[in-house]
């Protein structure tokens, strides 16, 4: 039995790397610093070790050969999920380049709200350590932060020390839209967060009024979405008086039509405050289970985030056209390769087309895929790299146990090698 310290997690997005994990054979127990997201993700038992073709156990080589054959004979393959580590994503893109696939990350419809904003007008953002040491005002727009990340407040807000704050416990927290589900946002001194609650659908209007107040535009209304104007006026003043205000949102939580415009309002407000001579930064929450990793790696290998088609021999990006789920339901693809090394519950959609699942051991299927290759989980079964939510820090994931499961990259590289041989014929 071994105890491994300083274990980084690829699951929670915030780059927790202080876990203490006990390893007994292939059984893992999170001994310290676990949370509702990380503990079950680490402790999940291995069930499948053997690949299957049509439900029959086979050797890895056979499964890889079958997968390569399906891809080679496909007119338009789709690689969905795309949830793995850096090497896994490199493998996804290598296979896609070879067989002209469409590549689509599982969380891209949420991430798209951010990319549409970034690629249209840009943003001004910050990272976790800056928040931990500088942030004196945190405004959460449309997100229940402790549900997103159970330890966020403990790790980054109510920490004992902040380099530039005399009293970290005096930070101000404001919720706009969704209210907090628990008391994690209440300061150690007992000060509760300010909550300006409204429906998500009202956020665009609320943000427009906030922007007008910051620019000192005259307003006729007395209340917006049930929130009295003086409350918003106070928020505007808080932002203008903060030393280092941070406005945070989670694209996945802004789940309504044209929410990208709300993200853009947030980002423009941040920029506006900086142009008014006050520092302020945005902070998008995301990065769970490989989505930032997928977009980063796709960024440097293709030039675009992870919704890219290779069917013309070069990468093409369209955040709407190459929506994998839409392509599946429209019958635009004829083979599905599903890659999901983190979450065994995220099984491939049953699409009525030949399906290859390269998935975390224990994946439960509604319909058994043509090929299932169980793979190890990055940061548990093999070393690797994963990005955390702020796009800057890539964690060095550790290998914690010897499960014998191959990595996503090993499986995809083997498939690519066979495609290469087929192409050369």
């Amino acid at each position: 039995m071994a105890k491994i310290t300083e274990v980084p997690s690829p699951f929670c997005g915030v780059g927790t790397d202080d876990l203490v994990v006990e390893v007994d054979g292939t059984t893992l127990t999170v001994k310290e610093n676990g949370c509702a997201v990380n503990t079950p993700a680490f402790e999940q038992a291995i069930s499948d070790l053997k690949p299957r073709i049509n439900g029959e156990e086979v050797e890895l080589e056979q499964a890889v050969a079958k997968a390569a054959e399906l891809l080679a004979n496909s007119y338009q393959p789709l690689i969905g999920g795309c949830a793995s580590d850096v090497n896994g994503m490199r493998g996804v893109l290598a296979v896609a380049d070879h067989c002209g696939a469409v590549v689509d990350n599982i969380n891209f419809n949420a991430a798209r709200r951010n990319y549409l904003t970034m690629q249209d007008s840009g943003w001004m953002n910050t990272t976790l350590a800056e928040i931990k040491n500088r942030c004196d005002l945190l405004v959460l727009v449309g997100v229940d932060l402790e549900a997103f990340s159970p330890r966020f407040f403990e790790q980054y807000i109510w920490c004992d020390d902040a380099m530039y704050l005399d009293n970290a416990a005096a930070r101000q927290i404001v919720y706009l839209g969704k209210a907090p589900s628990g008391a994690a946002s209440t300061s150690p001194d007992g000060a509760a967060a300010k909550v300006l609650a409204c429906d998500d659908a009202d956020l665009p209007e609320l943000l427009a009024v906030l922007a007008a107040l910051l620019k000192k535009q005259p307003l006729q209304v007395e209340a917006v979405a049930g929130i009295a104007l003086p409350e918003l006026q106070t928020l505007a003043e808080q932002l203008m008086n903060a030393k280092y205000g941070v406005i945070s949102w989670a694209a996945s939580a802004l789940d309504f039509s044209q929410a990208e415009l709300t993200v853009q309002s947030i980002c423009n407000t941040v920029k506006e405050i900086n142009d008014l001579g006050v520092r302020c930064s945005g902070f998008p929450l995301g990065g769970k289970k490989g989505d930032v990793t997928a977009n980063q790696v796709s960024g440097w290998i293709t030039g675009y985030p992870a919704r890219v088609a290779f069917n013309r021999g070069y990468p093409e990006y369209d955040p709407f056209l190459y929506d994998g789920m839409a392509m599946l339901s429209n019958g635009e693809v004829d083979v599905l390769l599903w890659v999901e090394a983190f979450n065994s519950e995220a099984a491939p959609p049953s699409a009525g087309i030949p399906t290859i699942a390269v998935g975390r051991s224990g994946m439960q299927f509604e319909k058994e895929p043509d090929v299932f290759i169980p793979v190890g989980t990055p940061g548990i079964d093999h070393a690797g790299h994963a990005y955390r939510l702020d796009n800057v820090v890539a964690l060095r994931l550790k290998k914690l146990r010897d499960s014998g499961l191959p990595s996503t990259a090993e499986v995809l590289n083997a498939i690519e090698n066979l495609l290469q041989v087929k192409n050369a014929d």
Partner: protein, 557 residues
């Protein structure tokens, strides 16, 4: 396998060879001495290079090819990629090109221009993994990075606490080893940090509002550390007041203030501006060139701008933010990063009919032509900030061909023409001088002890050109490029994909430096010290990458 390159005109400034016809032999990836006539050695492969120009593979000593801000620039500009799609080939991967190419395309296009090594100059320690992973996906080229310090809170805290130079040396050496770099870079010393405290500018002697430290002090303590640690590459400095009219005074003051220590001033064109004339913007090139000529401790790369669309990606969040209103297309990104550094990405279109841009173009060329010693000035566009690296052949023609240069000069903004002495400068760079700037000099500056030359013992990174009066045509399409002795490019096209090494240095430090660092990481940062340090296997586990350690200077341990 013994390869003979027969009868080429060799330009090898590292060995003092200037256009002499001679043979070169390659064995096991390296250049070897000519075998003895009577030894009966069999030549396995011979290339007849009669009349061809032979140089070492070119080395770009400052180009943004790996790391977070470059990837932000990529993701920011889908419309630019769409105009330059790169189709998958028999042996090459697909991708995109133009201003910020995808990593694979970066490797291919550099190699296709005869480059065999490139160095990323702005590796944030906390983002070093990403820089190395991107460079790890950049084929053919050797690479390496300069690790950024100077706005990191740890150093500024040390300086405020008056820690001694030895303690700073230990921290610098530790960081360089943890981030796997070959040099130390400072960007707007302390300014990125000051921006987080809402300071919007920071002069050489201005103090950070929180720390009792000025940029001059940061430069002095880091230049001293680099020198005392024996790091061959001088402190790599992106000065204060980037792009600000009148900043020539700051730059001259920076040169004086370093007190004779080795210092490299990067993209110096952006730091050579006067504030005279009707537009309060003028050339400071003559003063800068004079100062470089006089101060032998100073080297510089130019950061030439060339007209057209590009994107500026810099660690200098302070000045990138100040310039955001010039973003074209109108979108930009700034970031504060991890109590470590920051970045700003602003797309930009340099226009020849814009007075300022036109004069920036002329200022860069003036610096190239007025600095006497080609061993101390380097050919860069600060890719992609002044222009994409693919414009190097055009830039070489501007330097080698006075009449072409003057033809171009005649087309720019008329007021800018009046404000530059360019037309009166007769100098034309020779092939040997180009070879110094882009090969021998660059290798020496970076500290590569066995690259950049063609004498025996060097790695066989070799480029062969057909001489052409049009130097742009000559330099954009070499006949052959050899990387570590393997033919990788023929007639300007990749014929073999190899993987270069990552060059590093490993200056010593006292292991006790980690005691305070660990406390600091645990208390203030968001990752563990043990997880911050990059390990060797992160380079080698994919079977492609490797690390190559270079010796320190003057026998420093």
């Amino acid at each position: 396998m013994l390869i003979k390159l027969k009868g080429g005109k060799v330009f090898d400034p590292a060995a003092g060879v200037d256009g002499k016809t001679q043979d070169i032999y390659i064995q096991d990836g390296k250049i070897v001495k000519a075998p003895k006539q009577d030894a009966g050695v069999k030549i396995d492969k011979e290339y007849d290079l009669q009349g061809k120009v032979v140089m070492a593979g070119a080395i770009d000593m400052h180009t943004h090819i790996g790391g977070g801000k470059g990837n932000i620039a990529r993701i920011l500009l889908p419309e630019d990629h769409r105009a330059d799609p790169v189709v998958r080939g028999q042996i090459t991967r697909s991708g995109c090109g133009h201003v910020m190419p995808s990593t694979y395309v970066t490797g291919y296009r550099y190699a296709e221009m005869g480059y065999t090594a490139a160095f990323e100059p702005a590796v944030l320690p906390v983002n070093a993994r990403q820089a190395h992973m991107e460079m790890g996906d950049t084929p053919i080229l050797d690479k390496g990075g300069y690790v950024m310090l100077g706005s990191d809170d740890y150093l500024l805290r040390m300086m405020t606490a008056n820690k001694d130079q030895q303690a700073i040396n230990d921290y610098v050496a530790w960081t360089l080893q943890a981030a796997k770099g070959i040099g130390i870079k400072v960007v707007n010393a302390g300014g990125i940090n000051a921006f987080k405290f809402n300071q919007r500018q920071l002069d050489l002697d201005e103090k950070n509002v929180y720390y009792d430290v000025s940029p001059r002090q940061v430069l002095q303590s880091l230049a001293t550390a680099v020198n005392q640690l024996g790091i061959p590459h001088p402190l790599h400095v992106h000065g204060c007041n980037l792009g600000v009219p009148g900043n020539v005074e700051t730059t001259l003051d920076t040169i004086q203030g370093i007190g004779g220590l080795p210092m490299h001033l990067t993209h110096i064109q952006f730091h050579s501006y006067g504030a005279e004339g009707d537009f309060k913007f003028s050339s400071g090139a003559a003063q800068i060139a004079e100062a470089i000529n006089k101060n032998k401790n100073i080297t510089a790369d130019v950061g030439q701008i060339l007209f057209g669309q590009t994107v500026t990606a810099s660690g200098d969040s302070m000045h990138q933010h100040a310039n955001h209103q010039f973003a074209n297309p109108s979108k930009w990104v700034c970031m504060d990063i991890e109590c470590d550094a920051g970045c700003g990405v602003v797309p930009f279109k340099y226009r020849d009919q814009n007075f300022v841009n036109a004069l920036q173009w002329a200022i860069g060329l003036e610096i190239f032509l007025l600095v006497d010693d080609p061993w101390r000035v380097f050919l860069t566009t600060d890719h992609p900030n002044g222009a994409p690296f693919t414009s190097y052949p055009h830039l070489i023609r501007l330097l080698m061909d006075k009449s072409f240069r003057n033809d171009m000069l005649a087309t720019i903004h008329p007021e800018a023409q009046k404000m530059t002495t360019l037309a009166s400068i007769d100098r034309e760079y020779s092939l040997q001088e180009i070879a110094i700037m882009t090969r021998a000099g660059a290798a020496k500056l970076v500290g590569l002890h066995d690259r950049g030359g063609l004498s025996s013992g060097n790695w066989a990174d070799i480029t062969v050109y057909t001489e052409h009066e049009d130097r742009q045509r000559m330099f954009e399409k070499p006949d052959y490029v050899f990387k570590d002795g393997q033919l990788v490019v023929k007639d300007g096209e990749v014929v073999k994909v190899t993987w270069g090494t990552t060059h590093i240095v490993k200056p010593d430090y006292d292991a006790s430096v980690e005691k305070d660092l660990k406390k600091y990481f645990d208390r203030y940062l968001t990752m563990k010290l043990g997880n911050f340090k990059i390990s060797d296997d992160e380079f080698t586990e994919d079977g492609r990458g490797s690390l190559t350690e270079h010796p320190l200077k003057g026998g420093a341990a």
